[in-house]
Each structure stands twice: as structure tokens, then as C-alpha cells.
Symmetry: C2
């Protein structure tokens, strides 16, 4: 018995998906078995004619269909009726009618591909049809030598001309530098990766296990990266890190000052973030077992300043009125030009920015949450070192930005930390005894040590503020009630009044974890800025309430909506309409990575959304002063029962 | 008196050419004064209507032509007849009718530009219409701040939309990295350089003195670079250097061996040539007083191996039959990807190659000499370390390559050197006394030392061989006639028979300059290979003679056609039909730098010319053996009288 003969090889172009199937398998079944994308609406009955394919090897010679017949069964009566003679002659078939009877390669034209619907798991996040900018293209027969006086590339380009591509995509330099000369490899398994049908960006001697891309979210304080399989949409790994620029300035304004304050300022800031991204890429590669050479696309969101610093663009225009970015539109640059260590030929796609303080991160949020496609009025708050706020619906969308400082990300507070193992993420305070109960983010190991508190993260501080307010530890003005006679209300070794969440003997550090008056003030400032911004946008649209409130941000998924409401992060709204949607900016970057349509949508939305500058808004100072109160005085009467 | 008012400023778009003119100057005269390109066939009589322009500033408002009238005189009756009302309304004018009466910016559409005819100075080289890929675009008003929430780039892009460009060109990353933020500069003199109307590759705060490009010819032994003004076609500077790869292998085959013989072989070879090119670029910049940042385009020719090594492509396919290049087609890569230190956004255009041993240098020769446009039969010999030969006319062109070794470039001979100061370039020998008279290439300084001989270059060795043969110092077989009783025919200190050209006391080195038997053999091998190749191509085309013989090569302009004929470099042809045309490959690179049409022509010719492989040609060995004779036995009877 001849195993190879009984199990002929089937190759689908241009995806390059291939495998062996049992002799006599229907071609549509072979596609399903191999995982190649091929449409079939009628379930293989030959009725929908959606599974048209064209035979690439074994195209019939002038004498008829003989050589084709060696690979696929002869055309059925149904096919003879469906296809004109010249189409049959050119090798056109219905996959549901043709039976595999030998090695065969078929081309699946665009209209016969089903496309894959990828479900975005985050709540509120839209699903998307898989349509990445890069695709694999298998070569057969490949680099097998030629008698003509043309180059190895020209031999490849010939297989990449029509019908697969309208004209052969051009080779990128790094691809040419690793392209083996003719004759060194004739195993026929070479895979080329093609970008937007115009450029060949990578070549693999053996088919890569996956064609992947990286979605990057550059926060002022936190970096997040997602490794996605561009052929399935799956998230293969995630990584995060503190933005190392923090060491040169905690917020946007101090980084702009640093960038312009010394000769290499801008370059140093760029270098720091790029190095950190490269470390995350190594981490993603390790986690997923995928080589960085297989990371063939990248999308990137971040606020306008992070966007500029990542690209090495002068951010000084963002530091003074009228806060004009150098560039707003979406951009594509070679990863190598930025020093990003993914495939040398890959592009980095920067999503567009809207204004000086509403950046590509907001575009990411919009892509993920799609308020521009909704009838109901939505409030989206992206909580980070800056708060970016979008209000509206498909009719009109307006946005604004406010400086919140890093408090809501857990930084700058006495015991603040990011949402890592050991961070307090939930706080409940007994209204009678004022005893504190905390939930702590556990580590991977599950060891005893990891169950002890190290500090408090953003969602924890929002919980703590809300609870302290509700039980009377702090007043409406945010002052600590020092007259409370409970052990938690005490003074630290320097005599500063503090409210203790976890006593020293129950922490991982051996020091108590507490909230100071300064901590409360920092959070009040942050929440006040967001609250005031929301009120101004509501006035602008003549809105008195929202149908939906969505909280996003690197720690957005961890915020308790009831606590956010109780501490007055935004004007009152029934709690069931408030949802935390996780890192929507990152989700948006991921959607843009998987879908070219999403990139077009981003450009459209960026033009559609209207930016409101708050710094010179006549009402802002008054709204801000009022919004410092806990909760905002005008909504306090609406405070829900806890 | 108000000087600015009496001398309004005129700006021509998209060239950005600008200047002040006397109030009342005709606009066509202003174009001539400023040097802007504007057609005028009728000499300003308003008859040809070729000088149509469109006012950019001062476009009439809805109320009529008032605001236009503030900058140019009102439309004449002739213009009112010529232009439909809506065109007049849009600001269309005839430059010969409009008078400058205030600051004005006008757009010169493509059809109104005359184009500049550039005459190529080398004999046999075609002239070309100036049509470079990069052009300057002046910005007015520029970066002067904006009240809209868009970026500085978007402000620029708005001025670069229609009618100047169908859509705004995209910015390259290095441009964004130096783009000043809005408001820092409102002097209105910013200049953007646009490539192919699709990409903005550079920005200058002040108009650059020149927009230039570099044409590069990478020879196996010699590198040559030309700095050209892309707006006038002028050659601003030239530079040359020994290809430093010589230290790792004298010919193509030994470099291929080195490239594959060690881990970093290929990278080392690329690094060497790139470093040397960068040194030449510094030299060109110094000579012409032009910053490398103003070098905004580059074209490159070289044989296929030099082409591959320059790009870092694996040359091993060129080292074994069937000698297949990795890629033949023309290529454009960013200079920064190659480490070339011209403007960071500039492209390097690699001209196409024809085959493994007929490279982009041959395409350069064809572009310069255009045999494909001639009726007469032409033989083109590009003499270098490889000899590339093209034979034919517009009907059919065939080409071949033969290994000549570096002897004809003056290398490897005992006293060989390149055509630098001190090189013997002409040799005459008295038929009776055998006294030798030499011409020496003089240095720039004109000092006495530089008039002394250092060695002998390629044209000198061809002269010497021809003369030695004609006076009987060597026989038809190339043997030195040791029985000659003259002082020149002697032995060196090791007892090797030599023919002395310059005695020791008349050289710069203090050592005699002589020709050895080995020198003669090396030259015989080189000329034999070329001669044999030409004969095979003649047979292929059934040709018995040529209408024209053109000798090119880095030292081609220095070869004495009579000497080349006398020593049998090619089959006999009346000497008046033989011409030396200089470095035609370099000329071709220069033409492709100045003209986009020439680049298209290169692609066309590369497909048209047919390559003949000589290594496995049945006649080659026999022809080569015969062609070693001095001169070729079959043409010796035709030897002209000297």
C-alpha cells in the first residue's frame, strides 16, 4: 500500500493551508478537515455555487480535461451546466462536487471565502470579521530551479500574479536578504507572507505554525500587549508592564517638559518605551511559543503624547495652548524603523488621534464600544492617568480629556500599586464596627505569601473611597473623620492621621496598608476632573442622563460600578446601566489588528467625533470645584441605597 | 517708499520657487526672473495659451474678482475670451497677460511646465528631459497655527491636496520626527520634498539651495558617484574610490566564495561597500557645498554580484550554473534601510539586472547609449573586471558577459594602478629606437612630483600592448622578444625579463615601471575573452561587421580606439567607427536619476535584451583560444597602418 498515493496532498491558495486527505474526499470536506476557509451555504448540495475554486496544478492541457482528471474527479453534470466551457477548461470547479483523487492545489478566490467571525470576549466589545492586512501565501512548486534567465524572485512572482493577485506584490528588503537562491530548496513548502496584496514582507522555509500580530496599548503609566493569531483571531498571550517613562515624569505634562528640557530628552523617552515593548514581545513569544519572526503586524493605541513619544515626534505642541498634535491621521511605519523587534518587514499601524488630549487610545475605545453605531446615549469614561470621555450616539459624538493624575491607576498613593498579585482590589467596611474586609489579587502560584496584601490598586482605591464615604470615615468634603473611636482610625509613626485597611501583621510587607488624607485628596481631584468634564459634555448635548455608562481603562474591568457611582466618579445613573468593559482601548487595537475594516472605521470615527477643549471652557473651574465633593452635591440626593 | 510693497513676492507652486519682483512685472517674466519652469511658445503674445496658471492666494471670493485683483492685474479681454467664466472665477490666468501688483502665489500645472532638456555631455550619450522622482513643494501659509483641532501635518496636507496633488502625499517617519510643532515658525518659507506625488520625504525650514541626487556605479574594482542637481540636471561633483571589497576577493567569483565562506561574509562585504559609498557621499557634499540632507534620491548600477552584495542578498546562485540571480527587477529601498547616509527619507533605486553576469551596469550602458533605438548595428563593450557585451539594434539586442579579470582596470599587473594622478595613460614607442614616450595623468596640484609616473592604468596598458606589438617587442603569441638589443628590454633584480617603460630615476617611486611577461599574459586573457564573446554574438546575429563600436567602462573614455583595435580587443572595424564613451554605466545611472521615463525604459530594455550564456556555449573555448593571439589571427590581415 502506498500511503502517499492513498492520502493525496491538498493545498489551498492563497492561504497556503495544506494537508493530506483520504483518497476520494470531497474537496469541500478537505477544506474543512485542513481548516482552510471556504464558503458553503447549501451544505454541499451544489445549490449555492459559493464554493467555486480553481485548480492550480493540473490545469487541463489543450487536449481537454485529462491532466485535471488526474487530481480531481471529472466535472459532474451539475458543474458542466454551471460553468461555461472555457471556465471548466481553466480549471474552475465546485468544491462540493470535486473529489480528490491525487495531489492537487486549488485557488480559493476571495468571494468563496467565508471569513471568520471573531467574538470579542470583553463585555460591550463588538465582534469583528477576521480580515487581517497580512496573509500567508504558500508556494508550489517553489524555488525549484528554472531554465530561464530570470531571478528566483521572478519565479515566485509568477505564482503570485493573477488570479491570486492583480499584480505580483513587491518584495521587502529583509525578505530578499533571506531568500534562498534557486536550487537550494525544492521541498515545496516555502511560505510567503503578503501585506495588503502589495508587499511580500516575510518568507518562511517551512510553513510557520501561526501568522500572528501584536496589539499594543501604550498608557501613560501602563503598557499592555496582546499577541493574536491573525488566522483565528485568538489571543495567544498577553503581557503588561509599567511604562518605564514614568521614571522621567509621572504624567504627560512632565514628560513633555523632559522631552524638551534636554538634548536627548525625546530620544531617551522613545528608547525607554521601545525597549519595554521589545521586552513584552519577548515575553509574548515565550508564553505562546511563537517566534517574533512570526509576528507580522502590529497595531498601536495610546494618548496623543504617548503616540508622539513612541514615534519620536516632538510633543511640545501638546504642552501649550492650543494643544495641537504634530499629526492626527493613522500611520504605518516599518517596525524596523521604530526598532521594534518583530518580523523585520512588518508594519506598525498607529491608530489616528483626535486631538492633543484625546488620542488613539480613545479611538481604540470607540472601535471596541461603537457608540457611533448606537441609538442610545452613551457615556464612555476611559480611566487612566488622563481621563478621556466620550458622550453621544450615532447622531453626534463629542469628547474631552481631563488630567486625573496617576491616582486612579494606584500610583502616587502611599500604598498604591498596579493591579498585580498582592494588590487590594475590593474593600468592604462594616458600617457599625468599621472593620475592613479586603479582596487581594492572588498570584499564579497560590502560595500563602501571595494571599497577603502588598498595596492597593485603582479599583481598590475606588472601592475604599466609596466605602469610607458611605460609613462616614470621610465626609462629603473628603476630610477624614479623626474623631471616630475605632482602631483603624489612627496615626502613622510620623503622626499623620490615617485609616488602616490592613494591619501590619497581615501584610506581605510587614507594614500596615492605610489611606492618608493626601490619598483621599488625590482621588478627589481625579474624580472631580472626570465628573466636571462629563457634566460639561452633557450640557453641550443637552443631556440630563445616560442610557448606558461604560467604564474602560487598563483597570476598568476591575472597577465596581456601584463604588464608582457612590464616590461620584460621574453624575448619577441607575447602577444597572453602568458597566466596566475592561481595557477597551486595547480591545480596539486588537480589533484593528484583526480587521482592515476596523482601521477604515477608525479613520471615519476620528473625523466624526468632535473635540471639546476643557481648559479654556468657561464652566470648567466651577464644575470642577463642585465635583470635588463626595459624591457630587447635586447628585447626592440620588445616591442609591447600599 | 515701501520696499516690500514695491517688490511684491511671487511664489510658484508646486516647485516652491519664489522671489520678489518689481511691481507691475508680467507674471511670465517673473517666472523667468525667479527661474521657475513655465512654458511660453509664442513669446508672451497670448497666442499659444501654454502659460496657463492658477492663482492660489487671492482666489476670488463669491462677490467676483476683487480679491484676485489685489494681487494680479484684472483679466484682459484676451483672457476673458479664452477662459470660461467659471475658470476665471477659479483663478485661471495666462501668465503673459497678468501683471504682478501684490504678493501672489500661483500654481503651474504640469502642462504649463516646459520641462528642461538636459544634455548629457559624454559622447554617444543621449540627452534627457528632466523629470526627477522628487520635487520641492513650498508651503504658504505654513505652520502658522490653526484654530482647528487638527494636527500640524493635516494643516500642511491641506495645502498639498488638489489641485497640486490628487491626494496629499503621506509623511515619512524621519520627516515627522523633525517637523516643528505648530506656532514655532511662521516665516512661511518651509519646503517639503515630495516623492512621486505620494510621499513627503523631507522638510526644510528654509528653502534648500538645491534638491540633489546621487548616481552610483558600483564596479567590481572601482566605485564612482555623481552628485546631480535634480532641478537643473547639472553634475555638481563626482567622486570615485577603489571598491574596498577588493581586499576580500579581486573578482566576482572570489567574492561569492568569501560571502558564503564565513558566517558574516556577506554582511562584511555589504558593510565595506556601504562605508565606502558613505565616504564618497561626504566627499561629494564637501566638493559641492551641499548637505547630505539635500541628497534626496539615489540610483545605482553595478554588475549582478555587486548589486546583490550592495543589497545584502545571497550571491551564491551567481557562482554556480545556471547562474540565477535572486532578483532581476528594479527595486526601491529606503536609503536608511541600506545604511546610506543621504536624506533619511530618500529612496535608493536599483536598476534592473538582466542575468547572473549581465547586471544593472549593462542596463545603465543601454540607457546611455540606446542601441535599442538605433537602426545601425552596434557593438557595446563595457570593460571592467567583467566584460559585458551588447550587440544589435532596435530589432534585436543580445548580450553576454565574460570574465576579464582586473588587468584591464590596471589592477594585478606588476605596476598596475587605477587612473589616478601619476598613472601612465598613453604610451608611444619609437619603431626604430624602441624609446618609450609616456603621458601621465597629472594631479590637481600641478607640483613637480605629480608629473612623475607611479604606475600604469588600464588605458595605458592597452596602449602599451598595442605599441609593443606594433614595434615587435612582443610577438603575435604575446611572447616578449628577449633577443632585442635595447636598454628597455632587460631583466629585473630577480632575473625576470621585463620591458621598461620608465626608468627608475624618472618615476615617483624611484623604481622602474615595466611590463612583465605575466602582465602581457593577463592582458591577453582579458582581451581574448572579450574578443571571443563578441565573435559568438556576431554569429548569433549573423553579423560580419558593425556600424559602430562603443567602448565604455570606468576608464572607457581614456582608451585609445586605435590601440584597442591594434591589440585586438574586438574584431576589426574601421577605426573611425570606434568611439570611447566614458563610463556609460554611470551615465545611465545619472539619466535614471534625472528622469522617471528612463527608469521605465530600463525595465522595458531589461525584458527586451536577450542573454547568451557563454560558459556552456559550444564555440567559446575554441574562439577564446584563437582570440588570445595578438591581434586575432583572422583579423590581423586587416590591421590598419599606424
Amino acid at each position: 500500500m502506498n500511503a502517499a498515493k492513498d492520502n493525496p496532498r491538498v493545498v489551498f491558495s492563497p492561504s497556503g493551508m495544506r494537508g493530506r486527505v483520504r483518497l476520494g474526499t470531497q474537496l469541500d470536506q478537505a477544506a474543512r478537515d485542513i481548516g482552510a476557509d471556504l464558503q458553503s451555504l447549501c451544505g454541499g448540495k451544489g445549490q449555492c455555487a459559493k464554493c467555486r475554486v480553481r485548480v492550480l496544478e493540473g490545469v487541463p492541457d489543450d487536449s481537454g480535461l485529462t491532466s485535471c482528471a488526474a487530481h480531481l474527479s471529472a466535472p459532474t453534470e451539475l458543474e458542466k451546466k454551471l460553468f461555461p466551457a472555457e471556465d471548466l477548461h481553466s480549471g474552475w470547479r465546485l468544491a462540493c462536487q470535486a473529489m480528490v483523487i491525487g495531489d492537487v492545489a486549488v485557488e480559493v478566490p476571495d468571494e468563496s471565502r467565508a471569513g471568520k467571525q471573531v467574538i470579542c470576549k470583553a463585555p460591550g466589545c463588538q465582534s469583528v470579521e477576521l480580515d487581517p492586512t497580512v496573509r500567508r501565501h504558500g508556494l508550489y512548486p517553489c524555488l525549484s530551479g528554472t531554465s530561464n534567465s530570470i531571478g528566483a524572485w521572478e519565479e515566485i512572482a509568477r505564482t503570485m500574479g493573477p488570479p491570486a493577485y492583480s499584480s505580483p506584490p513587491l518584495p521587502d528588503l529583509p525578505l530578499l536578504q533571506i531568500l534562498p537562491p534557486v536550487g537550494t530548496d525544492s521541498s515545496g513548502s516555502t511560505t510567503i507572507v503578503v501585506r495588503e496584496s502589495v508587499e511580500c514582507i516575510a518568507v518562511f522555509k517551512d510553513p510557520p505554525s501561526a501568522i500572528t500580530g501584536v496589539a499594543l496599548d501604550i498608557g501613560t503609566t501602563t503598557l499592555a500587549a496582546y499577541l493574536c493569531d491573525l488566522e483565528t483571531g485568538a489571543v495567544l498571550a498577553t503581557a503588561s508592564a509599567v511604562n518605564p517613562q514614568v521614571s522621567l515624569g509621572e504624567d504627560v505634562i512632565s514628560r513633555i517638559a523632559y522631552a524638551n528640557g534636554c538634548a536627548d530628552g525625546r530620544r531617551n523617552l522613545q528608547k525607554l518605551v521601545i525597549e519595554s515593548v521589545n521586552t513584552m514581545i519577548e515575553d509574548l513569544a515565550r508564553q505562546a511559543g511563537v517566534s517574533p519572526a512570526c509576528m507580522l503586524d502590529m497595531t498601536c493605541v495610546g494618548n496623543t503624547c504617548m503616540h508622539h513619544l513612541f514615534l519620536g515626534i516632538d510633543p511640545s505642541g501638546l504642552g501649550r495652548s492650543p494643544f495641537i498634535p504634530v499629526i492626527c491621521r493613522s500611520l504605518d511605519f516599518k517596525a524596523r524603523d521604530l526598532g521594534i523587534h518583530i518580523a523585520a518587514g512588518a508594519l506598525v499601524h498607529m491608530l489616528p488621534v483626535i486631538a492633543g488630549f484625546v488620542g488613539a487610545d480613545s479611538i481604540g475605545v470607540l472601535l471596541a464600544l461603537e457608540p457611533h453605531n448606537l441609538d442610545e446615549n452613551v457615556l464612555v469614561i476611559d480611566v487612566g492617568t488622563n481621563g478621556e470621555i466620550v458622550v453621544g450616539n450615532h447622531g453626534r459624538l463629542i469628547c474631552a480629556s481631563c488630567a486625573t493624575g496617576p491616582a486612579l491607576e494606584g500610583a502616587t498613593l502611599r500604598h498604591g500599586m498596579r493591579a498585580a498579585p498582592g494588590a487590594i482590589e475590593r474593600v468592604r467596611i462594616d458600617p457599625v464596627t468599621l472593620a475592613v474586609d479586603v479582596s487581594i489579587i492572588s498570584g499564579d502560584t497560590g502560595s500563602k505569601k501571595s494571599a497577603l496584601a502588598v498595596g492597593i490598586c485603582g479599583s481598590g482605591i475606588i472601592d475604599a473611597m466609596a466605602q469610607m464615604f458611605l460609613v462616614g470615615v470621610i465626609g462629603k468634603n473628603g476630610n477624614l473623620n479623626r474623631r471616630l473611636d475605632v482602631p483603624n482610625m489612627t496615626r502613622d509613626k510620623d503622626g499623620v492621621p490615617v485609616f488602616v485597611l490592613v494591619p501590619a501583621d497581615q501584610t506581605a510587607t510587614g507594614r500596615e496598608i492605610c489611606i492618608t488624607q493626601d490619598d483621599v485628596r488625590a482621588v478627589q481631584m481625579a474624580k472631580g476632573a472626570i465628573h466636571a468634564a462629563v457634566r460639561i459634555l452633557m450640557k453641550e448635548l443637552n443631556l440630563s442622563s445616560f442610557d448606558r455608562v461604560l467604564l474602560s481603562g487598563a483597570f476598568g474591568s476591575r472597577i465596581d460600578p456601584a463604588s464608582a457611582l457612590a464616590m461620584g466618579l460621574f453624575p448619577y445613573c441607575p447602577v444597572e446601566r453602568v458597566r466596566s468593559v475592561g481595557n477597551a482601548a486595547g480591545d480596539g487595537a486588537r480589533l484593528a489588528l484583526l480587521s482592515r475594516k476596523k482601521r477604515l472605521e477608525a479613520a471615519r470615527v476620528a473625523r466624526q467625533v468632535q473635540y471639546i477643549e476643557l481648559t479654556d471652557h468657561p464652566d470648567f473651574q466651577r464644575e470642577f470645584a463642585l465635583a470635588m465633593w463626595l459624591p457630587h452635591m447635586r447628585s447626592s440626593s440620588l445616591l442609591p441605597e447600599f
